[in-house]
């Protein structure tokens, strides 16, 4: 068996995602503005209210803006993961998902290629965000910008797989707004993106526990440690594990025998 057709198809599927992204400049701007608003407005106001102690990976006191940078990187991945699954629901209605699934390659590979394409785009957006943040004076260790790349890829794949799994269970576009409310907001707020877990525990140990099992928390922590050239093994393991679970769910959802792709008419 030759690997060549697989590589050709992989390149084409990821390139299509990238091209689509080029054609949607508003989406790029929205993805950039959203975290910047949080960084420049929310964080500025919140800084006074929240005292941070020194916790790993930080070695000195840090400003609140610095603290939420990894969470906002995660936010970009989260929104993109959900948005690309929104596009999957749309694709399915429009038929281009059908075209993809009739390619003579295993279905898991076709879906995985699509996820990779979406993740590459997310990474570009995160880098653009970090560049703007640096322009506003929030500068990270130089090599951190490189070390964070694999963390972003793994996190992007995990959140993309979650979106893919959700998309296989959503029949129509209209149901998607609900997913935004019931998936994106809880995942973001019940995580370590905006406040460290020990701070959360001060107000409610239960909330802290919920945050601790939220896979998004681990994406954020993986990114946070990577930005400071450290590897958070527990977070890595947790993210990989949930990525596998979500991918399996997505494949199950798109299994022809289960027929969730089927739509009458």
């Amino acid at each position: 068996m030759s690997l060549r057709p697989w590589l050709i198809a992989f390149r084409a599927i990821t390139a299509r995602e990238a091209l689509r992204f080029v054609h949607q400049r508003e989406r790029f701007l929205a993805a950039l503005v959203r975290p910047l608003v949080w960084l420049l407005v929310f964080a500025a106001g919140f800084r006074a209210a929240l005292g941070l102690s020194i916790i790993p990976p930080y070695q000195t006191y840090i400003t609140y803006e610095t603290y939420i940078i990894p969470g906002l990187c995660g936010m970009i991945l989260l929104f993109n993961g959900m948005q690309s699954s929104l596009s999957l629901v749309y694709d399915r209605e429009m038929g281009s998902m059908r075209l993809l699934l009739t390619a003579p390659l295993p279905r898991w590979f076709l879906l995985f290629s699509k996820l990779c394409g979406a993740s590459f785009i997310s990474i570009l957006q995160v880098l653009a965000f970090l560049a703007v943040a640096a322009a506003f004076g929030i500068v990270l260790p130089l090599w951190g910008y490189v070390a964070v790349l694999p963390a972003l890829l793994i996190g992007g794949l995990m959140l993309g797989a979650l979106g893919l799994a959700l998309s296989s269970f959503i029949k129509q576009l209209e149901n998607f707004a609900g997913v935004m409310n019931f998936v994106i907001f809880p995942m973001f707020f019940l995580s370590s993106a905006l406040y460290p877990l020990w701070k959360m525990a001060e107000s409610s140990p239960l909330l802290r526990d919920i945050c601790a099992v939220n896979p998004f928390t681990h994406v954020v922590e993986l990114i946070r440690f990577a930005l400071y050239l450290q590897l958070n093994l527990a977070a890595l393991g947790w993210v990989l594990l949930t990525a596998l679970v979500f991918m399996a769910l997505a494949l199950w959802g798109y299994d022809p025998a289960r027929g969730l792709v089927r739509r009458k008419g």
Partner: protein
């Protein structure tokens, strides 16, 4: 036989969509799958393209069992879906390149095939145009050209003339008939319009999920006009 369907049944929950559907299309023939709306044509196409699978029955495409060896069956199958599947922001050529890559084609071989398929459908001059700027007939032609890129043995089209004006409809119907005649391609063409069926075509009549008749069109309807024959066979008692 290039396309064989045996005892295929499928239901959406309690509602039966297809019931023991069996038919065969001889190699190199244009077969019309004729049936009124709701006959089960789209369900059948979903099953034929492996989008979902049936718990019972068998589909063989150019000798490959779709359930056992889906990749081999898909590799020899060209599909034109009822839904539009072009990426409107891409040019005709870019759309074809994307599809070629899904089938593992690249480089000069790919470009040669794209040119040949576009020539075949008289679309070469529009290769650089964005799909968004094409009219419905030309979009359909692009999709047919795309479905031919990997030299399929069997071409499946699910109501490809829906939404087209009369001229575009007859042009596309003629094009695909010529393809079967000139290149030996086996075609399964779903429609509910009897004027798209020629007397020499193979005809499969599908109604309420069952095959009512299968054979050469002229032999089936005899001296009765096809339209009247179709209406009388698919009449639902009021």
């Amino acid at each position: 036989m290039s396309l064989t369907v045996t005892d295929l049944s499928y239901s959406y929950g309690a509602k039966t969509a297809l019931s023991q559907v069996s038919f065969a299309v001889p190699e190199g023939r244009f077969a019309a799958l004729l049936g009124p709306n709701g006959a089960g044509k789209s369900t059948l196409y979903g099953l034929l393209t492996g989008l979902f699978s049936a718990p019972s029955g068998q589909i063989r495409v150019a000798g490959h069992d779709l359930a056992r060896n889906p990749r081999a069956a898909l590799a020899v199958m060209g599909v034109v879906f009822q839904q539009p599947t072009l990426d409107l922001d891409l040019s005709v050529r870019q759309n074809l390149r994307y599809f070629a890559a899904l089938h593992g084609l690249s480089g000069r071989d790919r470009d040669r095939r794209i040119d040949a398929a576009l020539d075949r459908l008289a679309m070469r001059a529009r290769a650089g145009e964005k799909a968004r700027d094409l009219n419905g007939g030309h979009r359909r032609r692009t999709e047919i050209a795309r479905a031919l890129l990997h030299d399929p043995r069997v071409l499946l089209l699910d109501e490809p003339t829906v939404g087209l004006d009369a001229a575009a409809r007859s042009a596309i119907t003629d094009h695909v008939h010529a393809l079967a005649r000139d290149t030996g391609l086996t075609v399964l063409w779903a429609t509910h319009l009897t004027d798209e069926v020629l007397p020499g075509d193979h005809l499969v009549l599908l109604h309420q999920g069952r095959v009512l008749a299968s054979g050469t069109a002229s032999a089936l309807h005899g001296t009765t006009p096809l339209r009247d024959w179709f209406l009388s066979r698919t009449a639902v008692p009021a």
